[in-house]
């Protein structure tokens, strides 16, 4: 669990945020993602598990959506189905208006390559491979030339503030930097949607805030972001939160008092000298113990 920094609750609410979220959950004019009546059953040690039970979900273009729920609620399964890594038992999934239900594994791979960017909790970078080579990976499978790959990979790494870390191996980077490499890899194909599965789960709170800042900034630039989390505070960075429990969506709400990571980062930076003076606060805010 990531504890809340002491300043979080006291932050003034931006009226524009309230206005945006007041439009309510049923939004879509142009849906990037459309999930209809999706169920997923699997057998685990001879027990049938209903991970998802009739889920309907629409994600609008340019939206930042959080899927929230406790562990075992089915949110990761939903994420995997949305990301075309897993097949639903019943129901349909459409991306950019295209139904993917009948697609072969290779066709699905092509859709993942072109339209979806993944950010995982555990980064999932290739070991002993430079940041640039990691970011180039999806472009290799897209069939781009080496020079074009290098250009786009450098560009993507610059967007996440790692333009000076191109040749670093994952083990030479901090957790936050590794996750930023992973975000660059998700971006580099200019996908329709970026899926982030507990992107801050393995990070200290400071790095977590920085990752959320990047995701929010990308969303401001028009990229659709779906993030999965069990952390209510992380979820409040999104415009809309879908609550899932026992494989069903129980609540679909717009976020009031949306957290703006840019402000958080600025506060963390201005807090830093104070926190250094107060040892206890330092532990809470900096290391996220």
């Amino acid at each position: 669990m990531t504890p809340e920094p002491p300043t979080a609750g006291a932050r003034p609410v931006d009226p524009a945020e309230v206005l945006a979220s007041a439009q309510g959950p049923a939004c879509a004019v142009d849906a990037v993602l459309d999930i209809r009546n999706v169920s997923k059953c699997y057998v685990l040690e001879e027990v049938v598990v209903n991970a998802l039970r009739g889920v309907d979900l629409e994600v609008c273009r340019g939206e930042m959506l959080a899927i929230m729920g406790p562990s075992g609620s089915g949110k990761s399964t939903l994420m995997h189905i949305v990301g075309l890594l897993d097949h639903p038992t019943t129901g349909s999934v459409s991306i950019d208006g295209q139904d993917v239900s009948g697609m072969s594994p290779n066709e699905l791979a092509a859709v993942r390559n072109k339209r979806i960017g993944f950010v995982f909790q555990s980064f999932n970078l290739l070991a002993r491979t430079t940041a640039q080579a990691n970011v180039e990976l999806p472009l290799i499978y897209a069939g781009l030339s080496a020079s074009e790959r290098a250009r786009r990979a450098r560009n993507a790494l610059e967007r996440v503030g790692l333009g000076n870390r191109l040749g670093h191996m994952p083990n030479q980077l901090s957790g936050g930097q590794q996750q930023r490499v992973a975000i660059a890899r998700a971006l580099v194909t200019e996908p329709s949607i970026v899926l982030a599965d507990e992107p801050t789960g393995n990070l200290d709170s400071r790095s977590g805030v920085e990752v959320m800042q990047i995701l929010q900034n990308l969303n401001d630039q028009g990229i659709t972001v779906v993030l999965v989390t069990h952390d209510a505070r992380v979820a409040r960075h999104a415009q809309r939160v879908v609550h899932i429990r026992d494989g069903q969506i129980v609540l679909n709400e717009c976020v009031e008092h949306r957290i703006i990571a840019n402000i958080e980062v600025a506060e963390l930076e201005s807090d830093a000298p104070l926190a250094d003076e107060l040892g206890v606060l330092s532990v809470n805010t900096r290391s996220g113990a």
């Binding site: 890594l85 993942r112 390559n113 990976l137 290799i140 897209a142």
Partner: protein, 399 residues
């Protein structure tokens, strides 16, 4: 994704585990090197033996006691062996008389002898014939003379030395006129030979040559091991063969065999060819074991990199991309091993050729290379297939 990209990924993966890649390759290296080395030696021996037989000239007949042609006959050690009637000098004599000018008949006796000069001792084989011996022995005289008819008739203790014998008993000297003790009997050296390398009857350099009558006394046996008949006209070898058979049949029934040089050549070639193939077959087993080593390592590599496969699939790798990545990795391993094996095997054969006849043949190199590549494909496809079929989500969850 193009093939070049697959190669770069494969090379990167292999260089990430250098020690493991090298040890895996070692299996293929040993297999390929063994195939090339053994085939080279086999081919070398074959070439040398056939060469030395061809060097005798194409007009020779070899007459052996015993029946080597029919299965029921008395081959050496066979059921007929005890019935085998040995040739005597008289048989050779009467053959010569009846064949007249159309042929030269040389009875040949063989044995072993211990020699001594001063405090130097040496063991060698004995080749004994009559005064026409030089017609059938393939040696070139370095000095002295061959024994003559009267020395044969009188069983004179005269001897000619092969190059090895000469070099060991009289190092750096001309042995002609010197005395050497052969099995305790004093012999006068009347000639010696140039070195000429091995031959079908062992090392003809490590042999001494003496009149057959002398040899019979020395060995205490009236038997002769074979009769060599040299046709005056090379075109009449077949005719001569039937005449020899006709002349010997009354006395020996079917208990003798006449080989023409062509037959001997064919027989030996077949034998040595079979031997070479057998050696190659044995060596291929180690190549097979090397291939299984590759499969084993590739399977380990696939399960070790399950997560990597998951990541690659998540970002858009198709089944074919993963399959080709792992197959190419296996091929690179085996082909690299094959190339190193060829260098080691060919280098070893060249180094050995100082002592053993060895010839690196082009086809053995090509075959070994293709075989090693095939091993890579064959043993790489299964692990690669397993890798390519992994479910992306299962692969990503794998710890």
């Amino acid at each position: 994704m193009n093939l070049l990209e697959s190669f770069r990924i494969a090379l990167r993966a292999l260089s990430a585990n250098k020690a493991r890649s090298a040890l895996t390759m070692l299996g293929v290296i040993i297999g390929v090197a063994a195939v090339i080395l053994l085939v080279s030696i086999g081919t070398g021996v074959q070439t040398q033996v056939t060469g030395s037989i061809e060097g005798l000239g194409s007009n020779l007949l070899f007459v052996f006691p015993g029946n080597y042609t029919s299965g029921s006959g008395g081959g050496p050690g066979g059921p007929g062996a005890s019935l085998r009637k040995p040739f005597t000098l008289d048989d050779a004599q009467s053959l010569q008389v009846r064949l007249g000018d159309s042929a030269v008949v040389v009875p040949v006796a063989q044995g072993q002898a211990a020699m001594k000069v001063g405090n130097r001792t040496w063991n060698s084989s004995i080749s004994a014939g009559n005064e026409f011996g030089m017609e059938v022995f393939t040696a070139t005289m370095a000095g002295g003379r061959f024994y003559n008819r009267s020395e044969v008739t009188a069983s004179r203790r005269v001897v000619l030395l092969g190059a090895t014998v000469s070099e060991n008993l009289f190092p750096g000297q001309n042995p002609v006129g010197r005395t050497v003790a052969v099995d305790g009997q004093p012999f006068t050296v009347i000639g010696y030979f140039e070195p000429q390398g091995g031959s079908m009857s062992g090392d003809s350099d490590n042999a001494i040559y003496m009149p057959i009558t002398t040899a019979q006394q020395l060995l205490g046996s009236k038997d002769i091991s074979m009769i060599v008949v040299k046709a005056a006209d090379a075109n009449e070898v077949d005719l001569l063969k039937s005449r020899v058979e006709l002349l010997l049949r009354p006395k020996f029934k079917d208990q003798f065999t006449v080989f023409t040089q062509q037959q001997t050549l064919g027989l030996l070639s077949t034998l040595l060819g079979t031997l070479t193939a057998m050696l190659a077959g044995l060596a291929s087993i180690s190549l097979l074991v090397g291939g299984i080593g590759i499969m084993n390592i590739m399977l380990v590599s696939v399960s070790e990199r399950t997560r990597e496969i998951g990541i690659r699939k998540a970002v858009g790798a198709r089944t074919y991309d993963i399959l080709s990545q792992f197959v190419i990795e296996a091929i690179v391993l085996s082909v690299l091993g094959g190339v190193v094996g060829i260098i080691v095997g060919a280098g070893g054969a060249l180094a050995l050729s100082k002592w053993v006849p060895a010839e690196v043949s082009f086809w053995s190199v090509v075959l070994a290379f293709l075989f090693s590549a095939a091993v890579g494909v064959f043993f790489g496809v299964y692990p690669a297939y397993r890798a390519s079929r992994l479910d992306p989500i299962e692969a990503l969850r794998y710890e």
